[in-house]
């Protein structure tokens, strides 16, 4: 068996999982928030700008996944091409991806709650941004942990 090719395959799979799960989570999160926003906008179209910001918040996880993928792909040439590294990167990509997936879904729920809040109290838009931001913390931690793990492997 060509271990080098296997390692490379596992690494690419890890990168794919990170970006795939992150994007899937963001799609779900934005979908949830968009459903809430659609209902509010049918009654209060002037809130479009503010609700667009709220429903865009769960979209960042997709980009965190993209960043993780780019970091993995960018460092591939400098990483050892052995099975251990391949497995490590696969698991890392999966772990980061799961953090992004779950946090994006729940951030979508939190955004929907904030949208309902803004619909009732338009002046509270600033405060309402905080609810989804609280959830995103753990996507940030997941991304950072992934980057640190990658740096550790590369060193």
């Amino acid at each position: 068996m060509d271990l080098q090719a296997l390692s490379m395959g596992l690494t690419v799979a890890g990168a794919g999982l990170a970006v795939g799960l992150g994007c899937a989570g963001s799609a779900k999160g934005i979908g949830t928030a968009a459903q809430a926003a659609g209902g509010v906008l049918s009654e209060k179209p002037h809130l479009f700008g503010r609700l667009l910001v709220l429903l865009a918040l769960p979209g960042t996880q997709g980009f965190y996944g993209f960043i993780t993928m780019m970091m993995i792909m960018g460092r591939m040439s400098s990483l050892p091409q052995d099975l251990k590294t391949g497995v490590a990167l696969l698991v890392m990509g999966f772990g980061v991806g799961i953090a992004l997936l779950v946090s994006a879904i729940w951030q979508g729920q939190a955004s929907a709650a904030s949208i309902a809040w803004v619909a009732r109290r338009e002046g509270d838009f600033g405060k309402s941004l905080l609810l989804p931001a609280m959830v995103e913390t753990y996507a940030v931690v997941g991304l950072l942990a992934g980057i640190l793990a990658l740096n550790t492997l590369a060193s």
Partner: protein, 682 residues
Amino acid sequence: MAIDRMKKVVVLCERACVDRLFRELHRRGIMEPIDAAAWCGDADSLRHGEVNTEHADQHLQKINLILNLMDNFAPESQSFIQGLAPVPLLVEEKELEAALNSFNLDDVYRKAQELEERWRGAEHRRGEIQSRLEELTPFEEISIPVNDLRRTKWIRMLFGKMSLAALESLRNDPETASVMMADEIPPGSMLRGGGGGALPKNAPRYVLAAFTPENEEKARNLLARHGFEEVTLPDIPGKVRDRIRELKEELVDVDRAVAAVREGVRQLAGHRRALKVLKAYWESAKRLQQAHGYALQGRWTTVVTGYVRERDLPALREMLNRDFPGVECMVDDPEPGEEVPVSLTEKPAAQPLKLLTRMFGLPSYWAFDPSPFMLVNFYIFFGICFSDAAYGLMLAAAAAYIAKRTKPFEGLNNFARLLFWSGVSTTVFGLLMGSFFGDLYKASFMPENNPLRTFMEACTVLDLQAKTIPALIIALLIGMANQFYGIGLKMYGAIRNNDWVTALSDGLTWLIILPGAAILAVAFLAGVPRPLLMAGTVMFIVGALGLIATQGRESKGIVGRLGVGVMSIYGIVGSYGLTAFLGDTMSYCRLLALGLTTGILAQSFNMIAGMLWDVAGPVGPILTILVLVFTHLFNFLINALGAFVHSMRLLFVEWFGRFYEGGAKEFEPLGFDSPAAILKRN
């Protein structure tokens, strides 16, 4: 300057001049009336003033009807920025006078009312037609007049639907043949018109059952047992299809009627601004009337009380002395602990940060305003999170433009100025971290030694991607420093109130133990010089003893006090805790993560754009530029949002949690101005 000093004012005036007094207070906008009963107590001879808002309500009802109609049929177009931050209506005095004196509200109202009645009538008719169409549609394909299927002399017929399985069971029921004839009306039969074809298995089957009058009861019971759902035939002369066609033609007429209403409303929409001005006026007139309800009236005199900013007091006195020579004015300081409305006046540098304070909640009158204390940390956090020199310049330029155009609107102007300084900070951190549209200056399609590259490389102090661990340590150190800053502010707030016990026990003790604990943690993980280790150990022990001695000070018994003191170090009870400090500090790692996000995304976009340069042939450079413009604009927007939200979160959650409680009521002087409209006085 921060929280304006307030005075409680009691004005005793003749009953006859109270209307004039309120009008003058309303015109000047310097006093927030409060219930005079709070000052007078239960004085039997005094009663609350009468509130009559009927006149204002009548005008507001007319204006709201017209504006609602306009919102339905001729909504006001607004830019994306206006959607993000609604701008109050800025009303000139002349404009207000013109609206009050020259605008014929009754005439416009009459036209609007007529249009509304036509619209409601049309919509009512549309509802009727649609519901009739829903009733008739199932019978559309019956090609004979439905009245031919009604009760005949010798035969009774029932028309209805049932599932295929139910129809089969009805057919197989031995009783069926003796009671009635029932069968499916197949698609394409005479009843269902021509055409048709095989129905899907789960589609309901239309069934016609025929029986003699004497078998009617038995037949109905039998059909009910097999899930037959009778469909009442519509009572119309002629064919259903013809009636449906007539109704659809009527719907077209209804659409025409609604279009005519829309056109009528569009013609009225030219009056929108005048109506908004009038709405602002009548809302303020209503507030003026409601203020009468706060006053207490005796037989001859009226008592008016309220809060006035200390700096407005001379103007109030001057106005009373000049225009109301008979009145008595008493001025007092608010009682300690009293819920006083809060007005903030900032120095120019801290003015934009007032926005954040208001967003979280205003400070208590007896506390201090945190806005000036955010001058450094918010901009640093934003700058690190965004950390791209080019994005910083873009943000500063856009914010400067908005700030220039929004001077009369305090909230929006503060936001623009906040973004301007955030943009400046972003530029500085972008230079320090070597990011200008990511690594655009290093892109393959840029000249090797371009001046931008030389400049950026000269400025770069810390490359986040190359030195992630040092950058993480710096982020955590910034977090620790900010938490200590917050604890320091808690001490400051306590000392301002002469509460030295809180300052020392809930502030100083944590400022001793937490750095000690941090040194011990670093010593455990990586090692530190021996003198530093000794210093850390001493600080930890001294701080811990201080906490054990003080954190349980409100508990009973020595055991309880010591127990609470020990637990407070961990963080279960008490004013802070090691675990809370650890969690708070770790939260600042987002500074690094968001900084990395901006840079890596920008670099990825540069890489994608760079691929197009050679691949796409002669249009490659154009495509590259287009991709760069769109992707960087996207990156700019999404990361500016992230930087703002997460910087705000670090302040609101981790930092404010140490010393600040918002939630005070804002000072709202009686006057024309409101969040919806501002009167620009000459």
